[in-house]
């Protein structure tokens, strides 16, 4: 049973938006208890990959197994049950702006458990302690700073004690000191709770600080997948460009260039459908 060792298994994942090929045959495994960083520049497909892992998008082909279950083949009730075992901290935090921080964090408990309000209050404050936001439960999300929003979002993501935690750009838009403290928090969460953590980021410093293994995405392909040392030692020029922050020379294709100047578009660039409510 592979579910014992891998919390996520992605096999030959392909996605198209209209005729644009976004993810090209992506396969990867995330092991139990490891911090797995998905790294890549803008437009590399990392957000799309994350949305697939979260079950927000359906792949054109390929399979995704999370905690031993194929997310596109389970019944709605099983999917709901699966979702209570994973937590997600979105890039913007995505805290519900109409609720206080405490209510935000308590929401999954109120919806999915039969716990009484006293217990819910204790668990909520406990999780706020973990992310060093004790005493902030009565504030509204609009009253928090950027770093505090990320912390609150993490507290909400871990309130159900998930086996699997996703963090989308945890350090984006924060100053280096606050970003580094978020990294420490992620490391502490893994050590204290033993959960697998998938981090999507383009931040190199934080990647090397927290990652056990790294997956480098580029133009929808897995460019490299390995431990921190393996990635650092890679001889691929594209990876070295990424690591050393060199801009890539754009390939020269005079025909394509002329077509772009003439305003002839290659294909229908529709956004993906079906992700409405």
């Amino acid at each position: 049973m592979t579910a014992e060792t891998n919390s996520i298994e992605v096999r030959n994942l392909q996605t198209y938006y209209g005729s644009r090929h976004i993810l090209k045959n992506v396969s990867l495994d995330v092991r139990m208890g490891e911090i797995f960083v998905i790294m890549g520049g803008s437009g590399s497909g990392k957000t799309t990959l994350l949305n697939h892992l979260l079950g927000l998008l359906r792949p054109s082909s390929g399979s995704i197994r999370i905690l031993g279950r194929d997310v596109n083949a389970v019944t709605p009730l099983e999917k709901q049950e699966l979702r209570t075992r994973m937590g997600v901290a979105f890039q913007s935090g995505a805290l519900f702006s109409s609720m206080s921080v405490g209510d935000n964090i308590a929401l999954p408990l109120r919806e999915h458990t039969q716990l009484d309000e006293t217990t819910i209050g204790i668990v909520t404050r406990l999780k706020l302690e973990v992310v060093s936001l004790a005493g902030f439960e009565d504030l509204m999300p609009s009253e928090l700073s950027g770093g505090m929003i990320k912390r609150a979002a993490l507290a909400r993501a871990i309130v159900m004690d998930p086996r699997l935690l996703f963090c989308d750009e945890p350090s984006a838009g924060l100053d280096p000191v606050v970003a580094s403290s978020i990294d420490d928090l992620i490391l502490r969460l893994r050590d204290a709770m033993g959960m697998s953590i998938v981090v999507v980021t383009h931040d190199l410093d934080s990647t090397f600080k927290i990652a056990d293994r790294i997956c480098v995405l580029d133009k929808g392909e897995v460019l490299a997948l390995g431990t921190v040392d393996e990635i650092r030692a890679s001889t691929s020029p594209r990876i070295q460009n990424l690591l050393n922050r060199r801009t890539e020379e754009a390939e020269v294709d005079p025909d394509a260039y002329l077509r772009r100047l003439m305003g002839i578009r290659d294909g229908d660039e529709d956004e993906p459908r079906g992700k409405r409510l």
């Binding site: 699966l82 994973m86 979105f90 995505a94 519900f96 702006s97 992700k275 409510l277």
Partner: protein
Amino acid sequence: MLAARLHTLFDRLGRAFVRGLEEFGFAASLLGEALWWLVLGQRRRQRVRMAPVVAQAMEVGIAALPIVTILAATIGLMLAIQGIYTLRTFGAESRVTLGIALSTVREFSPLITGILVAGRSGSALAARLGTMRINQEIDSLTVMGINPVRFLVVPPLVAMVVMLPLMTLWADLVSLLAAGLYVSAQLQTSLAAYGDELQTVLKLNDVMHGLAKSAIFAVLVTIVGVVNGASVTGGAEGVGRMTTRSVVHAISAIIITDMVFAFMVTR
């Protein structure tokens, strides 16, 4: 040249038609899903809770009472003024009560209340859902295992369907009273006589006609608000655009449905 232009024209027309049809289908499936969660949510461990329904009902209904009262009274006065003016032509001012009573409970109360709620609460719903969508809050609900339709659509839907007929009934009372005050002052009769006449001309059927329509308006306002809110793309500007659109669509839907309903039921 002309052929090419015609081609583009038909192309656009066709696309707009398909988009409209798609939106209609989305609205219908949304309504179905909301009803499904309302009835079977418990079994899916996604119970629809009472607290948000009550909160919505307060927001949709109670908070709107002052403005409903003012508008209903104004409409009642307006009907009385116009009614007496019209009937004076035949010297039949004393028969004005019948016209006021029927047009108020059958048309004006449900219409004015529906339009008011569309402007107040339908737009608020669209703006809230739109903002939640661009802030990833809806994704956030989904990945928490909380169905967004059950959590965000069912409470306002239930609140509107309960509150709008109640508000319409209130508007009936206020409007008829205001009209009665004017009529009795103008025609030198007593308010009691006006009340007696109301009782003889108004049938329960007429009142129910208005209330049934207002329940349909409640569903329309909610679903139009949700469809527009859920379709927001493109940041803050998109939220503004879809909010405006939801008000225009909701009011149009109300007026058209009103006519269709009257046509089907009254003949």
